[in-house]
Amino acid sequence: MNKRLALRYAGRRLRRITSAGELRVLALAIFIAVTAAAAVGLFSDRMRGALEAQSGEALGADLLVTGREALPADLADAAEQLGIQTLEHLNFPSLVLAGDNTALAAIKAVSPGYPLRGELRIAPEAFSPAATTRDIPKPGEAWADARLWSELGLQTGSQVQVGNLKLTVSAFLEYEPDRGVGFVDLAPRLLVNRQDIADSGLLGPGSRVQYTRMFSAAANSLAQLRKTTDLPPALRWITPSEARPEVRQALDRAGKFLDIAVLAVALLAAVAVALTAQQHGERLRDEIAVMKCLGASRAFVLQAHILSLLLLGAISTLLGLLAGYAGQAVLANLLAGLIQNLDLPAPALGAMIAPAGLAMIMLLGFAAPPLVTASGTPPMRVFQRSAENSGSTSVIWATASLAVLAILGWQTRELELGAYVLAGSAAALILLALITWLLVRSLTGLRHRGGLSWRFGLGNIARRRRRSIGQAVALGLGLLALLLVSVVREDLLNAWQDRLPADTPNVFLINIQSEQLDPLKSFFAARGYDQLRLWPMARGRLVELNGEAVTADSFEDPDTQRWINRDFNMSWSDYIGWDNKITEGEWWGDEADGQAWLSAEEYARERLGIGIGDRMTLQFGPEKIEFTVHNFREVQWDSFQPNFFLLAPPGVIENVPAQWLTSFYLPRDQRSLLRDLMTEFPNITALDLEAAMNQVRSIVDRLVQAVEFMLLFTLLAGLVVLLAAIEGTRGERARETALLRTLGASSRTLQWGLLSEFAVLGLIAGLVAAATAQGIAWLLAVQVFDIPYGLSPGLWLISTLAGAGLVMLFGWLSLRGVLRTPPTRVLQGA
């Protein structure tokens, strides 16, 4: 038997694919899995390519040192001695005023020569043709980027105010090479001259300045510099390969979600493939027996059928790759906002190998084994339908399990994550099967009640109990994917949003000096804000623990070392906010005034290993104070209220230099208050949280959109599983229906019988899916997101109705042809 004949036969089979509904479903499942994998794979590959291709230009230099504290003065000298070009610039957030408009901007103050690598591009007016320049803004001038231009309604020559600094906008900043190192750079940019900053009053204590020194030289000089420089722990080196940490981080996180989505699609598709291949294998048995009668060997039969499967898989894969190519463009488009100045290379064809490999794993792991079993069908089956080979199902299971592992290894970059998803799916599957089994069993009592259609429908479920359970589990799996994508996600998002009251503060004022307290209170009282709570803040450094000196070296954990090296922002109060929960000890009252007690956040306990009664000595400038830990708190850090790791009672740290801060909710129509505030108190920095929150939200929105786009595939894969489960019984139902019709059952009775069977199966699947989805959502809410999550009756209702509705719809669509076919044709086996 030659291979060409096998190929011809495979080709012929493929052309008749319409006659085998299950093959269409199989092809669809592979198509969806490949599309999802290719979309994410190609997109990730482009991102990786773009990030790897970054040169020093992404930093504006070959090396940076950056940190929140002033850089050591000798760093510049050391660099110059090694012949390294070097420059320093500052970066900080500040409110910019222009006329009546305000915007939170990232101010970058640069010196001549900036940037050391790459060039700035500016234009005389917004969006007019830009040209490269080696200049920087002259003193008294500023360059604004497109966002700031539109947010403030700028024109060339507009006056803007930053702190008490008044600047003239002299150019439109189209491009800066080192845009985007750190979160603050997601805000619009105002580029100013470093000289101006000294007089601006913006750099007082408590300001959020990022100091950066740039270096440019040959690699060996830079290596020499890094070797000879002992950098304080609060500062760090950044090389071009570490540039764009925010992009990396965001994409990393998105990448994980996208990977999980693809994994879910692949696993669901695998279920659909396995189901359909099983049905296909069964259907092929008669055909294989005839072929063997005609003289075909098992090898030929196997070759021909595997070939036809591979051909079908190849077509699905090819179409999936094409669709995936389009999908990656959608992803790139959705995430484009995160990727400023990052030139994405064209999708590499090499990245299509992995999705194609996934298709191959699915074909060989899930689709081929039932065919191998079927190929052993003895030719005797032409006379005796019950004749079957003793093909063991354990081989099919073993191959499928190996294939699942292969998919995990293939599709997840992190094996641990993959293992969690797998364990979760397995647990969900077992749970689904268990609940379904219980529900199907409980139907027995209802079997003998009701009308003929109902009894016929319910009887079908009970008669084929094992198959019914399998079907309901498959349906439940599909529905579970649907629920997790749509309802549960919405639930979790709402639960998260509900945590923040409507009057959550949106403005923070920092840098308030003690002598400004009274005038500031009057300023706010005059505008109707008399409940303003001001928090003092002093910066202290931990020097002793229980009387023994501590430094970073006293701790081994790098996180603790970094934490200890920073100054603690400490406050004192007899008030504790709703977002603080005492976890041990008790909050203090008036009796605590003047007592050197300490309330510490749980993080401090974890890091320092302290307990109640332990003593912590903090140094504030020249003054040392020893505190005794009185209680521990857990702070909800995302409450948008001022919060502190360490709190003391009033009257202990009074003589230490302190600044004050406050936060309040400013309605949108009262934003002019900020302008008055800046004029009256130029040194106070107002942080517009709304702008910051909106930026974060827009990033999250884009990520969510990207993930949602991928979850769409999960949803489709779920529907395919559903389809596969229904198609699976098509032949058997067709025969039964035909038989019953010849026995005199009316089409109407049969139709209602089938519909009631599907409705019950759908209800069961829906119930089971709802229970599992709620379980998963609860786990996610409590364990991962730490938000309360209760039973959601809507979910149960939607799930059961959707289950019944979808199964009835798909069942009806799948079987309406059967109901119309003359029974003789069905019974003749045509």
């Binding site: 006659s19 008669d286 005609l294 003895p378 006379f383």
Partner: protein, 231 residues
């Protein structure tokens, strides 16, 4: 030359397969010798074991005891693939339930048999033989688009497509009405005569059996020969 030979064939079916508890003795020592070009009918009632005998003679199954030969080859020595290879091109089948491949057109069904028989011009000979059975206009039809009689004609065309030396027919008219059945039988015998094929036909229809040169009765698991004249 001997086309088919069986010596003391015994076929038992074990209780697990038959659903009962006792071993079923379907065939109890069948002896048979069919010469090339002969037409032989095996007559028997329902459950007499005639289909079992047919499947043993064609090498679809192996006997519990005894030995048999097909086209001079001892089947007991061959595994399933070996027996399939022996059938390819030498043996044709006509089944009661037609057994056409549902996804294949009439032409493709016939072509496949010719191809498996190693026929070089499978398509043209398939077309030719389909024309002989009067289906030249139904070549691209799928089985379910054909009537029962047409399906059986495709099956006959398929059986003769590989120019077999031996043809096994199992109740070929069992699923057809009398008129169509007669036409099918005419066709079968006509092609058989034209190609000089050895025909072994299993039926419960005595009139159909009469058309064969030899008639054998299968009773109590054994064959009894009845001499008769060709009509």
């Amino acid at each position: 030359m001997t086309a088919v030979e069986a010596k003391a064939l015994i076929k038992d079916v074990n209780p697990a397969q038959s659903g009962g508890t006792n071993l079923l003795h379907i065939l109890r020592g069948v002896n048979l010798k069919v010469n090339a070009g002969e037409t032989v009918a095996i007559l028997g009632g329902s459950g007499s074991g005639k289909t079992t005998l047919l499947s043993l003679l064609a090498g679809l199954d192996l006997p519990s005891q005894g030995e048999n030969w097909l086209d001079g080859q001892r089947l007991n020595d061959l595994d399933e693939d070996g027996r399939a290879a022996l059938r390819a091109g030498r043996v044709g089948f006509v089944f009661q339930s037609f057994q056409l491949l549902p996804g294949f057109s009439a032409l493709e069904n016939v072509m496949l048999a010719a191809e498996l028989a190693g026929e070089r011009n499978a398509e043209s000979s398939a077309r030719q033989i389909l024309a002989q059975v009067g289906l030249q206009d139904r070549l691209e039809h799928l089985p379910h688009q054909l009537s029962g009689g047409e399906q059986q004609r495709v099956a006959i065309a398929r059986a003769f497509a590989g120019k077999p030396r031996i043809l096994f027919a199992d109740e070929p008219t069992g699923n057809l009405d009398t008129v169509t059945g007669e036409r099918i039988i005419e066709l079968l015998f006509e092609l058989n005569r034209a190609q000089g094929t050895t025909l072994i036909l299993v039926t419960h229809d005595a009139a159909l059996a009469e058309r064969c040169r030899r008639v054998l009765h299968l009773r109590d698991g054994q064959l009894h020969e009845q001499e008769q004249q060709v009509a």
